[in-house]
């Protein structure tokens, strides 16, 4: 029965591996927790179990090695030896060898274990002076074990077991027996007669006899029952007999049964180890800390995959059911509740099944402790690895694919990141470098961070290396920000090490890491500070089996595009025209050229002929590049169950899987990476073209503004910049309350004052209030009030040229033609001032600090220029206006200013470049620079900081702008503030902007 035999062996191998898995982290922590009795016991038991079971199979080498390790551990347990690095090293080496032996169990007897064995032996003999001649041939019992057991009042037994008669034929495994013995008492030693057998198969085929020596509190008749074997196979020994039992030579010699008169045990416990509380037998298997619980069972992954699949189908089935029974449910009493119940249970089921596939990330993080330990030896560095969030759970498939990239990152940190102790000392850092590995959940994703406090990356070095290797052009790298320079590391063929070491230079670069992470639907980010350390952040989906997608239509068919790939969706038509550049279709999106691919053309499908100009473009991100995929229709966003593709379709390149939709039809899942490759997009070419275009058509660069267009009376159209709008509320006219002359609206526990445009501005008054009114609640003001309007027309994107002279008055910024209609631009600040003079006048009065300050405003957009000019006038500043960066630069050469207020996106010389130039200039480098942006995007903040910007302000936020100007210019009259002040301001303020 070959199957039976291999099953027995398999279970041995599997269990031993588990023991080894636990053994390694335990050994590692042994070094720092030398006196942890529980830990020592756990290690002892693991080795002991392997030894015990290996005896059954005649695995001599495993037996011998584990026996030696066990001996060593028992010395430690009795405090005869103190574990040190050398010992842990030896034990680790032993554990590694054991693993190798167990991995190739059939040939284990031919393997060489001398090195490991001798190393351990040396520790045994050298330190403790005990000459434990461990040999697999017989039983040699540690005298201390016997003494220990005797003290506890144990009986000693010699038990004969036959592999076939007693074990296999009763449907048990040797391990069962072994466990049973462990639960009855203390297992002392075992021996299997393997003299007659050769090879594993033989060992399993023959009915072999095994001999056990056991100490237990149980009397002989109870042992017979407990072990379920004939009485004559159990022999009781005296402690003296057992001590001298020597190399046991089995068959015939049957020890005489002799009852030993010993004192009755005080407690019916199994022998416990020195110092430890007596524990029930079952607790022996349990241990403290991070060991496995016993109430788990092993289930094959294939079965879980099936379950997962079925649960997914069940969800789809439920969705279909809900859809089709909608009409029935209304007419049948109770049906609705029933459906709801099924719906809930199904969701629950799916979630639970999904969780069965989740594993704590600690399962792979654990091995890094070992890697770091080994590496720090090799490299002569001191490195401390801190693991956080080991309990965070991941889908098994994600976890498996994550292991390699993470290993690479950790090795990189240890090899390139952390400096040698001498270098660290020189830099004034603690000698021991720290690598921190943190896993945590962040909004439906898992984030893994690898940080080190090493030397960090040197952007200049990265740039020159990239140029040297021909991966980038010198003129390109010159313009790169630090962050962009860090990203060079992800280019294929880039390696930062001066020389390839055997530690981390393994032929795979960071590009492979990034590819692997992106394959998992994740992203990788790198940040570094020279001399301070590096931070790498991975973001990954929880599971790969169910993914959120956008469903798009092509004729009758549907396709699913994973949402991780989609950056945004652009409706084509109108302003978003498809243009041709060098024969390729592109879309001009915010001043950049986006290459386009039409899905129908790509697929060569017959359903073409649709007008691409009227579809949608999914803006997809592939690595650093973006492209647009033109689709005809946009259907829905849906979570789908991913099914693998058959081998016939795998080579199509444009699909990553298939799925079954709610109506039972099959839909293909599109693969953004594959599509980009298939369409052979020339990203680099377009990049150049984009730049050229930006220089040529400056008009295209003028910022478009998001406007909220609304009406108050008749056709009179108003607009506010959307940046200024916090929200719009639709309210019933009768819900508005009057208090004196003022109108108020109850809003979220407080009340909001409402104002009407016609009360303060020279505009028409509506005849009567309609049933519903809209209230625009502005942001960026100190004392918000709601602006009542009768109709909200639209939110539009438009470039406008503001006319400030045609229409003037309170609350009016100016007028412009928007979408063919003359539109009044509302100045919220002056409107509010008029409506609430108490609050706003006061502010106005309190601004002497800015009076007379000389400010240069660089702004290319007329609209913003007009607004900023007004603000500066109100601040009583003296100011000049430059229409772009170059003009500003010239003005700076001619006049002296207290501060530069600059837009970022400008033709010619942009705000960052202008700032860089200023910082590089001998005379101007102390000039405070405040950058203006439509939105404080993080990357701008970063970029601005690198360029040397002192502060960041959101355009139109008058209050904040004033505050910032006051802070920077306050107290200093007409003179540039000293560098230190400027720097301090800049740091504080960047933090603020980032936080907000």
């Amino acid at each position: 029965m070959p199957q039976m035999e291999s099953e027995l062996l398999l279970s041995f191998v599997q269990e031993s591996r588990e023991h080894l898995d636990q053994l390694e982290p335990d050994l590692l922590s042994l070094e720092s927790n030398k006196s942890d009795a529980e830990l020592v016991n756990r290690i002892f038991r693991a080795v002991h179990s392997i030894k015990g079971a290996s005896g059954f199979f005649g695995l001599r080498k495993i037996l011998q090695l584990s026996h030696t390790m066990e001996n060593l551990m028992s010395r430690v347990r009795e405090n005869l030896l103190v574990p040190d690095k050398i010992m842990v090293d030896a034990l680790l080496a032993g554990a590694d060898k054991l693993r190798a032996l167990i991995d190739d169990v059939h040939r284990s007897n031919e393997m060489n274990i001398e090195a490991e064995s001798n190393r351990l032996q040396a520790l045994l003999t050298g330190k403790a002076g005990v000459s434990a001649t461990s040999s697999a041939k017989g039983l040699s019992i540690d005298p201390s074990l016997i003494e220990h057991a005797r003290k506890k009042g144990h009986f000693f037994y010699k038990v004969h077991l036959f592999t076939h008669k007693d074990i296999k034929d009763k449907g048990k495994t040797p391990l069962d027996y072994f466990k049973k013995i462990e639960s009855l008492g203390q297992f002392l030693d075992s021996y299997t007669d393997i003299t007659e057998i050769d090879g594993m198969a033989d060992a399993l085929a023959k009915d072999l006899m095994c001999v056990f020596l056991i100490s237990t509190v149980l009397e002989k008749d109870l042992m017979v029952i407990a072990l379920d074997i004939p009485e004559e196979q159990i022999a009781q020994l005296t402690p003296e007999q057992i001590a001298n039992v020597g190399p046991l030579v089995p068959p015939a010699e049957k020890p005489r049964a002799a009852v030993l008169p010993v004192a009755a045990p005080e407690q019916p416990t199994t022998p416990e180890f020195a110092g430890a509380e007596p524990e029930p037998a079952a607790a022996l298997q349990k241990s403290t800390g991070r060991s496995r619980a016993n109430d788990t069972i092993r289930v094959s992954v294939a079965l879980l995959d099936d379950l997962m699949n079925i649960a997914g189908e069940m969800v789809l089935g439920r969705n279909q059911l809900l859809r089709t029974s909608e009409s029935i449910a209304r007419n049948v009493p109770g049906m609705h509740g029933l459906l709801q119940n099924i719906s809930l249970v199904t969701s629950d089921l799916q979630e639970k099944v999904m969780r069965t596939r989740l594993q704590p990330v600690g399962a792979i993080l654990g091995k890094f402790t070992r890697i770091i330990r080994d590496m720090s030896h090799q490299l002569g560095k001191k490195i401390d690895l801190k693991l956080l969030g080991e309990e965070v759970e991941f889908d098994k498939s994600v976890l498996e694919m994550l292991s390699d990239p993470l290993t690479h990152l950790i090795r990189n940190c240890a090899d390139h990141g952390i400096e040698p102790p001498a270098e660290r000392e020189k830099a004034g850092k603690p000698l021991t470098g720290t690598i921190r590995l943190t896993a945590r959940h962040v909004g439906g994703q898992v984030q893994i961070e690898v940080t080190d406090d090493g030397r960090g990356l040197n952007p200049a070095q990265l740039k020159s290396k990239a140029v040297e290797k021909g991966l980038a052009k010198a003129q390109d790298t010159a313009q790169m920000t630090d962050r962009q320079a860090f990203n060079l590391i992800f280019l294929p063929g880039f390696s930062t090490a001066e020389k390839i070491t055997d530690v981390s230079g393994r032929g795979v670069g960071m590009d492979v890491v990034r590819t692997n992470i992106e394959k998992l639907g994740g992203s990788i980010e790198l940040d570094s500070q020279l001399g301070r350390g590096t931070r790498i952040c991975l973001r990954l989906p929880l599971t790969l089996a169910i993914i959120p997608t956008m469903i798009v239509g092509l004729g009758e068919r549907r396709f699913a595009m994973p949402q991780v790939n989609i950056e945004e969706i652009v409706r084509l038509g109108g302003k978003n025209r498809i243009e041709a550049v060098r024969g390729a279709s592109v879309l001009r999106l915010r001043g950049k050229l986006l290459p386009l691919v039409a899905l129908d053309e790509l697929l060569g499908s017959q359903e073409t002929g649709a007008d691409h100009g009227r579809g949608f473009a999914l803006v997809l991100k592939v690595g650093e590049n973006r492209f647009g995929l033109i689709v005809q229709t946009l259907l829905d966003s849906e979570e789908i169950v991913v099914k693998p593709l058959s081998s016939y379709i795998k080579n199509c390149r444009c699909y990553s899987g298939a799925t079954i939709m709610g109506d039972g039809k099959v839909a293909m899942i599109l693969d953004a990476v594959g599509i980009a490759g298939l369409a052979d997009l020339q990203f680099a070419e377009l990049e150049k073209e984009s730049a050229a275009l930006a220089l040529k058509g400056q008009a295209d660069l003028s910022e478009t503004q998001s406007l909220l267009v609304f009406r108050n009376a008749g056709d009179e159209t108003f607009a506010i910049n959307l940046v200024m709008v916090a929200r719009i509320e639709k309210v019933r006219t009768r819900d508005i309350e009057r208090i004196g002359q003022k109108e108020m609206l109850k809003y979220r526990d407080s009340s909001l004052r409402l104002i009407r445009l016609h009360d303060y501005m020279p505009v028409s008054r509506p005849d009567a209030d309609p049933e519903f009114l809209y209230v625009i609640v502005p942001r960026l003001v100190k004392h918000p009030m709601g602006i009542v309007v009768t109709q909200v027309v639209d939110a539009i994107q438009s470039t406008i040229s503001l006319d400030e002279t045609n229409l003037m008055g309170v609350g009016i910024l100016g007028s412009a033609v928007v979408a063919g209609k003359l539109t009044i631009f509302v100045d919220i600040y002056s409107l509010f001032e008029a409506a609430d003079p108490e609050n706003y006048r006061e502010e106005k009065a309190a601004q002497p600090n800015l009076a007379g300050k000389r400010i240069l405003l660089a702004e290319d957009t007329a609209f913003f220029r007009a607004i900023m000019t007004q603000y500066l006038k109100e601040f009583n500043c003296v100011f000049d206006v430059a229409a772009d960066g170059l003009e500003a630069w010239e003005a700076l050469q001619r006049h002296r200013y207290d501060l530069l207020l600059t837009d970022i996106e400008m033709p010619g010389l942009n705000g960052f470049e202008l700032t860089q130039k200023i910082r590089a200039s001998e005379t101007l480098r102390h000039l405070p620079v405040v950058a203006l942006t439509a939105l404080a995007a993080d990357r701008y903040v970063q970029q601005g900081r690198e360029a040397g910007v002192d502060s960041y302000e959101i355009k139109l936020d008058k209050e904040r702008l004033k505050a910032t100007l006051e802070r920077i210019l306050g107290g200093v009259r007409g003179l540039p503030p000293p560098a230190s002040t400027a720097n301090a301001n800049h740091l504080v303020n960047l933090e603020e902007v980032r936080g907000g």
């Binding site: 699949n309 079925i310 997914g312 189908e313 789809l316 068919r557 697929l603 060569g604 499908s605 099914k643 693998p644 058959s646 081998s647 016939y648 379709i649 080579n651 199509c652 390149r653 444009c654 699909y655 298939a658 079954i660 039972g664 039809k665 099959v666 839909a667 293909m668």
Partner: protein
């Protein structure tokens, strides 16, 4: 002498057979999603109670023209390697694919029982298809039954994607 049972089906007027042990089920669902850029012989994907079946157009595979979908069109769904590996008939799994695969045919015929020694070796050509795809031929009373070599039919090697 051992008997073998064949599921028979028509492509045009020609009668073909597959060993019944290899067949999982016959399906009349013709809701097949076309897969662009897939090899010609792939008709598309079909949902079989939550599992995805790759449907091959047997006509294309045998070089006798794509099958039009008609009233009697059927899909012969084959057992996968894993399924065959579990069965008691050892060695059959070599004759199937890893993934769930179906063959599109014009019309299903009867189940025919044939004595093993009545199966004749494949001729160079039969019914306009290459001998390569034929495991053997059986002379039935009215017609010639061409037993297909599934292994060859399912072979993906040499198939190039466009």
């Amino acid at each position: 002498m051992a008997n073998r049972q064949f599921i028979t089906f028509y492509l045009g007027d020609d009668l073909f057979g597959l060993d019944i042990l290899l067949v999982r089920e016959i399906n009349r669902n013709m809701d097949i999603t076309k897969v662009d850029r897939a090899p010609d012989c792939v008709r598309g994907l079909m949902n079989l109670r939550g599992q995805i079946v790759t449907v091959l157009d047997l006509g294309v595979r045998l070089n006798i023209g794509a099958r039009p979908i008609g009233r009697e069109s059927s899909c012969v769904v084959l057992k996968t390697k894993a399924e065959l590996g579990r069965s008691s008939h050892a060695g059959l799994d070599a004759h199937s694919a890893e993934d769930l695969t179906g063959l599109l045919v014009d019309r299903i015929g009867d189940v025919v029982s044939v004595e093993e020694d009545h199966i004749e070796p494949p001729p160079a050509h039969a019914g306009g298809i290459k001998g390569l795809f034929i495991e053997g031929v059986v002379k039935l009373q009215q017609q010639l039954l061409i037993a297909l070599d599934v292994r060859e039919v399912l072979r993906t090697q040499g198939e190039s994607t466009p």
